[in-house]
Symmetry: D3
Subunit: 137 residues, 6 copies
């Protein structure tokens, strides 16, 4: 059993807003993030898979295939997009780092042949990141 992690990046706009709350309550909880014009980030995604090393290839997972899956399932959907307006899961869920990690888990789980999705880590900034291991997904 070994773990392999691959990083990918996407640059997206987002804002935080709970429509059930007043303007003042959104400001109090979300501060500058409540600006509905949106702001943005260079997100870094780390996807970890777990499995056995195939003795013929030395790989847990085919790296080209893993890269294609990340591109198709996540990067092509999130990159250069406004998460609140253009990504379906964030029409009803606030695109916090935590919720983005859960959403990416749901997009990837069951799609990677011969390996188990073990962790999704999302960095919003170099000093803030969320890790999701699939509990309750």
């Amino acid at each position: 059993m070994i773990l392999l992690t691959r990083k990918a990046e996407f640059s997206s706009a987002h804002f935080y807003w709970n429509p059930a709350w007043s303007e003042a309550e959104n400001q109090r909880v979300f501060g500058k993030c409540a600006n509905r014009q949106g702001h943005g980030h260079n997100y870094t995604l780390e996807v970890t898979v777990e499995g056995n090393i195939d003795p013929a290839s030395g790989f847990v997972v085919d790296l080209k295939l893993l890269k294609e899956i990340l591109e198709r399932e996540v990067v092509s959907v999130y990159d250069h997009r406004h998460l609140n307006h253009e990504v379906p899961e964030f029409s009803t869920t606030i695109p916090t780092t935590e919720n983005i990690a859960v959403a990416i888990w749901r997009r990837l789980v069951g799609k990677i042949p011969n390996a188990r999705l073990q962790r999704v880590r999302v960095y919003e900034m170099p000093d803030l990141f969320a890790d999701f291991y699939g509990e309750g997904a």
Copy 2:
């Protein structure tokens, strides 16, 4: 004569669009960046000043003051903002990395006591940055 550089960060949304061009021309030149919902970045700003070391303090420039100037003139205006919609200079200028560097130069030049603004560097991503030295500003 010595140079001192201080970094600051801001997270903003933007998009690239020339209203004098057709949709197709904007797509051809700007690709994914032409999406008018906007996307975003963690920008890193490096501001370099040049001057003589004050023998009493050992400083070219008062570091707390420099930080306050960067905060007041740039970060408070750009951070957690949509550059196209909320920052005046980008209502008529496309917020490319090059144009952001020039705009920050104009915001800072002449504001730093006892030192000369020497360079403004703006990273849009770790692999792309612009340097402006004030020529033609």
Copy 3:
């Protein structure tokens, strides 16, 4: 269940010295770190909390509050200080990376509302870090 990690930094002086040992023994075990004039580091702290995502905010923990707690409990006490001389827990404990991680755990545990402290990581240098999960704290 999800994990959220936030980084903070502090710049401190320290040295390693066991008063029960001879000068030679301190030199043998601690090498250059035994210089009692002290040396120093830019420490990076990563604090990880574990909890459920609040569906109203999308947060495990209020980020502004978490930042305030790190500032109040750790950064304001350690930053720009000589750990051996100015931080109480290091008057009797050697401020190694391991002991700093344990000390920060004790300062933070039980202080973060609605989330469980899961890990404290302290980097003394980019190539050396300690992780403490609270076992035996």
Copy 4:
């Protein structure tokens, strides 16, 4: 119980090739990595050990000793070498990131006094790494 991690680096050449496969099959699976002239990387190794803090030294493990062990067991063998041609374990095993992590585990396990080897992490590039915890080694 606490974890301590130390990084080391080595720069090596390698290529991926399964002699039981045709040229075409090697190309299909390994792409550019199948070029038998070899290419290379700046590998980063993170070795994590687990143990109790010695109250006399404040250390889980003597840092100078740990550095010497990494140098002797891994860096002096792998650094500035062609892994396929000069490192015994890769004469019969393909030097993928996964297999390098397992090989380093086997080189280190049981060699670190007073601490348990907990994890070996190997970065081939900043965006690709493998973690091995000894399961099945």
Copy 5:
């Protein structure tokens, strides 16, 4: 006038050897780098161009085009290659960081429309890099 810099990466094998020198002389000058099996690095290339900002696009240089030129002229030739054996300029020149920077300058100069090549920087490791500005190329 503004400068724009874009990074690219390539992973290559190389070694240092002067055939006019004895084995001992090569060892004395080049140390571990003289191992003719080769070793390798993740090189980082920074290419800086200088020009005026096109007011219609906000660009000094078309970023997609610049990326294509770097890919075609440099990355496709150097990446996953053994520089000594597979890249023509290094059949007669030792692939030191300095010589790689000069070789990349020669590959790029005159190929970038509407902008002047200003600097080529090559990192062999994060702690070693060469800058070439074209003097004497």
Copy 6:
């Protein structure tokens, strides 16, 4: 003509204090840095030399020799030291980033065979650095 840059690191304690000023004036100008117990940093030094490439070696400067010079002239003197108390030039000069850059220039200039010292860059933190080119040294 080409430039070669090599990095080195040292971890030191320091504080800022002008003995000609009152306690209040030191506090006003230097803030937390005026704490005379000292604090510390992981400094990063970048030394750039300029010269011609020796066609026999492909080097501007012998890398092993350059590393030895940096070790002997700077790192062995500054690393794991309290700059104010243990490094002669800072008994009368405040060890600001600017003054450290000038001091390192004076320690290195004229010591590097066959190359000209072109720049000394000192990072006190990743977000603050000084560059000295020898003007007025």
